[in-house]
Structures are given as structure tokens and as C-alpha cells.
């Protein structure tokens, strides 16, 4: 955001508050990247990569939720993947049990997950730091147990979906997808668009009143209170927003895999998500994308492409986390552009120093 002191003298109020060129450039770059991911990418990669990219988009939403809670408000939640599994469960049950149009299904799943996530967030009004982390981790553990005990999702139609044969059988039809995006490629695009909308929602929050209120809470609760911020309300709002987005992601996940299984969501995944979100960068919402790439693309590369045990990733994440915490608290989302800018400046300076000598050459 740091712009050179170019606008010196009579830059009127409008010029000072207007859209900076840097912001416009960034918007164009983001739109370009989004179009690239949407249009050519599916035809460039195979179906296994497409599945990976779809789940990367979904996990980017989950990491975004974690980023809002921790990066914006300073509340650490180690149960975000568990909350995703709650979203998957609700989404799958609603899909089997009702015939509502898919966008409505997404919203309903988001809303119900929002209620549960906000309840889980209630302790944050009294607890913070390690204690809140522990409570949310317990929630993750409890969710894992409930899902495996109930043979999630245990086949069958309707809301309850319990079938006499017990565990999931092959008779269970896959969770439905939107009628406009039944195929893998179409649904991948659908997921990317929904994820983009979630990022837009987060950006709108961060750039306006709630974002400023969250930042003030994060800085100091007494100061926020003195500034008239209703801390209870804004903390709950952050949990509600993060849980809503995670719920939407869960519904997408259910439709993406078709037959969701409890084994997909382990308690430790919530921890890995937190680690990768920190590596990606907790203070920038773009860090969520980096986090999702680490979380989904790397395991795919390791296991499916290179045949390496994915448990090695835990070591890599550990080292990465250590590096980030020690040297770049802003994570890769902040470090990478800075490194690139430095590199660009270096190249530019190199070129400039070459030019006069070239001119003097006869």
C-alpha cells in the first residue's frame, strides 16, 4: 500500500481518497488471474489435477475463515476443518432431504453452519490465546468422534439418512450438484466462482466498518471499548462470517466428492490448516490461497505424483512455520511480493547502469 510521496502539493480531498493506480493495477491482475483459472486451466490439466484445484479452492475458503478470525480479530480457532466437516454433513443432509435450488442449498448450509460455528466461538468472549485454541481443538476432536460414531454420512435419503445396512453403501447416490454445473469441469468453475464471491465478501468486511472494528479489537480490547466498539457483537460477527463461509465451502465439498467420508476430516487437519494459513500469511486475505495450495496441492504432488509419504509434509510445514514466525510474520503473501519487488528493483537498477555504457559505445 505504500505509495511514493508523489501526490505532494494541492492534491485535493478527492485525489487523496480516490482510487490509487496501484489498486487499479491490482484489480486488473486479480481479474486476469481469475479468468485464467476459470477458462483455460480446466483444458490444460488432467482430471486428477482438476479435482485437486477444486479442493484447493474449497480449502482457500476455509483458510480465509481462519484468517479472518486470527489475522483480523486475533482469535485463534483450531477447529476450522472440523467446522468444514460440519458444513459437509449439513450440506449433504440438506441435499438429500430437500429439493431446494443449489444456490439456496449453499446459503442454507452456510447459515446452519454459521449457527454452530458461532456457538463454538462463544467462549472467545471470555477466553483468548491458548485457552481458546484448546477449546476449539476440543471441538474439532469431538466432531471427529461424532462423525465416526454416526458412520457419517450413513447412506440413505432424507434428513436422517440412516440406512438399515449401516455404513455407507454404494447404493447411496452422490450428493447432487447444481443443474448448471453437473460435470467436473463445470462444477470446478462453479466452485472457483463461489470462492471468489467469498473472498469478495471478506474484502468488503475488511475494508469497511467491521474490518476497522476487528482491527481495533485485535490491537487492544480496552481501547476498542473506549472507542465505542461493541466487542461482543463484532467478535461474534467474525465467527458468524467465518463459519458461514466454511459452511458454504462444506456444501461445495460434499457435492465435489459426491460421497463424503468421515475419514477425510481428521482432527489434526485443523492444525495443519492453521499452520499453512500462518505460512501463507495471516494478515493478508490472499494468504488463504497460498495456504490452500500448501494444504491441497502439495499432498497431491507428494502422494500421487512423486509417491512420497505425505506425512513428510508435516515436517515441511513445521520448518515453514518456524521460518515464517522467525523471519516473516506476514507470511508468504507479504514476503513474496516484497521479494519480487526487490528483485525487480535490482534488475531495473542493473539495466539502468548498463544503458549509459551502451550509449557511449560507438
Amino acid at each position: 500500500m505504500s505509495t511514493a510521496p508523489a501526490a505532494t502539493s494541492d492534491a485535493g480531498t478527492r485525489a487523496r481518497f480516490g482510487v490509487e493506480p496501484g489498486v487499479a493495477v491490482r484489480a486488473v491482475v486479480i481479474a486476469g488471474l481469475l479468468l485464467f483459472v476459470l477458462i483455460p486451466v480446466p483444458s490444460l490439466v488432467g482430471s486428477d489435477w482438476l479435482t485437486t484445484f477444486a479442493s484447493t479452492s474449497i480449502y482457500a475458503i476455509v483458510a480465509l475463515g481462519f484468517g479472518i478470525l486470527y489475522g483480523r480479530v486475533g482469535m485463534i480457532s483450531l477447529g476450522q476443518v472440523a467446522l468444514l466437516s460440519v458444513g459437509v454433513w449439513i450440506g449433504a443432509r440438506l441435499a438429500y432431504g430437500t429439493g431446494m435450488p443449489y444456490p439456496l442449498l449453499l446459503l442454507a448450509t452456510g447459515a446452519l453452519t454459521c449457527v454452530i460455528g458461532t456457538l463454538v466461538g462463544l467462549p472467545s468472549l471470555r477466553l483468548s490465546g491458548l485457552y481458546l485454541a484448546l477449546i476449539t481443538l476440543m471441538f474439532a476432536g469431538a466432531t471427529t468422534i461424532v462423525l465416526s460414531v454416526t458412520d457419517f454420512p450413513n447412506g440413505g435419503g432424507g434428513f436422517k439418512g440412516r440406512s438399515a445396512t449401516g455404513a455407507l453403501t454404494t447404493e447411496t447416490p452422490p450428493v447432487r450438484r447444481p443443474s448448471i454445473a453437473e460435470g467436473d469441469v463445470a462444477f470446478y468453475r462453479y466452485i472457483v466462482v463461489v470462492a471468489a464471491l467469498m473472498f469478495l465478501l471478506a474484502l468488503l468486511h475488511v475494508a469497511t466498518k467491521p474490518g476497522r472494528a476487528w482491527a481495533s479489537i485485535r490491537e487492544s480490547e480496552p481501547a476498542a471499548l473506549a472507542a465505542g466498539v461493541n466487542i461482543t457483537f463484532y467478535k461474534m460477527w467474525a465467527f458468524a462470517l467465518a463459519s458461514f463461509m466454511t459452511g458454504v465451502a462444506g456444501c461445495l465439498f460434499a457435492s465435489q466428492v459426491g460421497v463424503p467420508r468421515a475419514i477425510t476430516f481428521r482432527t489434526q487437519d485443523s492444525l495443519t490448516l492453521a499452520a499453512t494459513a500462518l505460512i501463507g500469511g495471516i494478515f493478508s486475505i490472499w494468504g488463504a490461497i497460498v495456504a490452500a495450495v500448501f494444504n491441497q496441492v502439495l499432498p497431491f504432488l507428494f502422494q500421487a505424483q512423486w509417491g512420497i509419504n505425505t506425512n513428510f509434509l508435516l515436517i515441511i510445514f513445521g520448518v515453514g512455520l518456524l521460518q515464517v514466525l522467525l523471519t516473516a510474520p506476514g507470511g508468504l503473501a507479504q514476503q513474496f511480493p516484497r521479494d519480487m519487488a526487490n528483485l525487480g528493483r535490482l534488475v531495473w537498477r542493473g539495466l539502468r547502469s548498463l544503458r549509459p555504457s551502451r550509449k557511449s559505445d560507438p
Partner: protein, 252 residues
């Protein structure tokens, strides 16, 4: 409790803050002990040695601390009956001893954030924030992140936060702490202008006596939770009991 010695020469103006019999008790200690004082319009000083109860007094006004006894009437309203987060909307502003400008946010967002919760009209936000920044003399682009500013500029951002959105009572807790003398001069000019520019009563806590005497017409002195002097600043600073309280701490 009888009025303290110099109280007789308090300028006879409309009382804006009327504190009577204020007592705060934490288990075993009494940081504020039966304090009664009246602050008129303008900038008022509140001084005293460390641990005298100045910040506790501010915390009572902000609603962080519930007093054991006493009443506070501000502009004719009972301040103690108001919920803490509603006091900002009423017009209470405060800065803290430690810096509380939000590094993550821009200068504009820092000030706009206060405006948003002050109950002031949304349509006037941009102009009001701009006016507050001009008032304190911050000239950098409003989009500059506060994290990139120096100590003086951050203090000024805090003062801008304290004066935006129709303030009525501005509490400044050691605004000059950590600033070199030449930078304190600008700050004191800004503080002096607050009552006329915004019609707000300003209460200034500081250890810098030159700042207090240049800004404040009235000054109250606390020592071990008791009010030991209240009156025109120059008289108060000459008061023997005040000198003794300050010299007493210097000996330690």
C-alpha cells in the same frame, strides 16, 4: 469531605464535570479516596506522583472501573449509569498511556473507526476525518499505514481519534510521553485548541509540567488517591502541599 485548600480560587464557570465523593477500592487498596472536584469548560490538568490514581480516575470515566461510591455528572448527565461502550457515542474520547493507534490500519481508517462508533452521520465521515487530521496537523496521505509512522505522528493520530465525531469529554493520558521537547510544543498547541474547536472539555494527565501549565487553565492534583489541590494551574503548581508530594516521590 471539605474542599481542598486552593479550591476557593476555581474560576466560577458552569461546571461541566462534577465529581462528588468518588471512591474506588480494589481489594485492600483505595486508589481513589473520596474525591470531589468540579472541572469547568476548557482544558484541565490532572497531575500527581506515580500511583496517585490519575489513570484510575480515567478508567472510572471510561467505565472500565466501577467506583465503590460517588457520582459523576458530565454535562448534566449521570456518566456512571452509562454502559462503557455507549460512552463513546455520548462523546467520551480517550487516549492511553501506551500507544493505541492501530498499526494495521491506515491513518484514515484509524480516525474513521472512531467516527463510525460515535453516532455521527455517515455522510459527514470523510469531511470530519479530514478536518480532524488537518486539526492535528497531519499532512501525509490518509491512506498511509500507521505502522509506517514515527512516534510523533502516531501520537497525533491518537489525538485526531480523540477529537473526531463530536467529542464532549476528551481524556488525554500522558500524550507527550516519549516525545522530545520540540515535538511536545506542537502537541501542546493542538491540545490547547481542542475546547474552542470542538466545545469539548479536555482533561490532560501528564508528568510534563511545562505541557500542563501551557495547556491547562485549571489543574487538580491527586496524591495517594486524595485530591490535595484544585485551582488555576499556576497557583496549584506553587502550592506547598503539591511541591511536597512531588519532592517526596523524588527522594525515593
Amino acid at each position: 469531605m471539605a474542599r481542598p485548600p486552593v479550591a476557593s480560587s476555581v474560576p466560577e464557570e458552569r461546571p461541566v464535570i462534577d465529581v462528588s465523593g468518588l471512591t474506588v477500592r480494589f481489594s485492600g487498596i483505595t486508589p481513589i479516596d473520596d474525591v470531589s472536584l468540579v472541572f469547568p469548560v476548557g482544558t484541565c490538568g490532572l497531575i500527581g506522583p506515580n500511583g496517585a490514581g490519575k489513570t484510575t480516575f480515567f478508567n472510572v470515566l471510561s467505565g472500565f472501573v466501577k467506583p465503590a461510591a460517588g457520582t459523576i455528572s458530565a454535562f448534566g448527565e449521570d456518566l456512571l449509569k452509562m454502559a462503557d461502550f455507549r460512552r463513546a457515542r455520548w462523546g467520551l474520547r480517550r487516549t492511553f498511556q501506551t500507544e493505541m493507534a492501530i498499526e494495521q490500519l491506515s491513518v484514515y481508517d484509524n480516525v474513521a473507526m472512531i467516527h463510525e462508533h460515535s453516532g455521527a452521520k455517515r455522510s459527514t465521515r470523510r469531511a470530519d476525518v479530514q478536518a480532524a487530521l488537518e486539526f492535528v496537523g497531519l499532512t501525509m496521505p490518509p491512506k498511509t499505514k500507521v505502522g509506517t509512522l514515527n512516534a510523533r505522528e502516531r501520537r497525533l493520530v491518537e489525538v485526531a481519534r480523540a477529537v473526531v465525531g463530536r467529542p464532549r469529554l476528551v481524556l488525554l493520558d500522558e500524550p507527550a510521553a516519549g516525545l522530545p521537547d520540540e515535538e511536545t510544543d506542537h502537541l501542546s498547541q493542538v491540545i490547547r485548541k481542542i475546547p474552542d474547536a470542538f466545545g469539548a472539555l479536555t482533561i490532560l494527565v501528564d508528568h510534563d509540567m511545562s505541557l500542563v501549565s501551557s495547556c491547562c487553565s485549571t489543574t487538580a492534583v491527586l496524591d495517594f488517591g486524595k485530591l490535595i489541590a484544585l485551582g488555576p494551574t499556576a497557583e496549584v503548581l506553587r502550592d506547598e502541599q503539591v511541591l511536597r508530594a512531588y519532592l517526596g516521590t523524588e527522594e525515593v
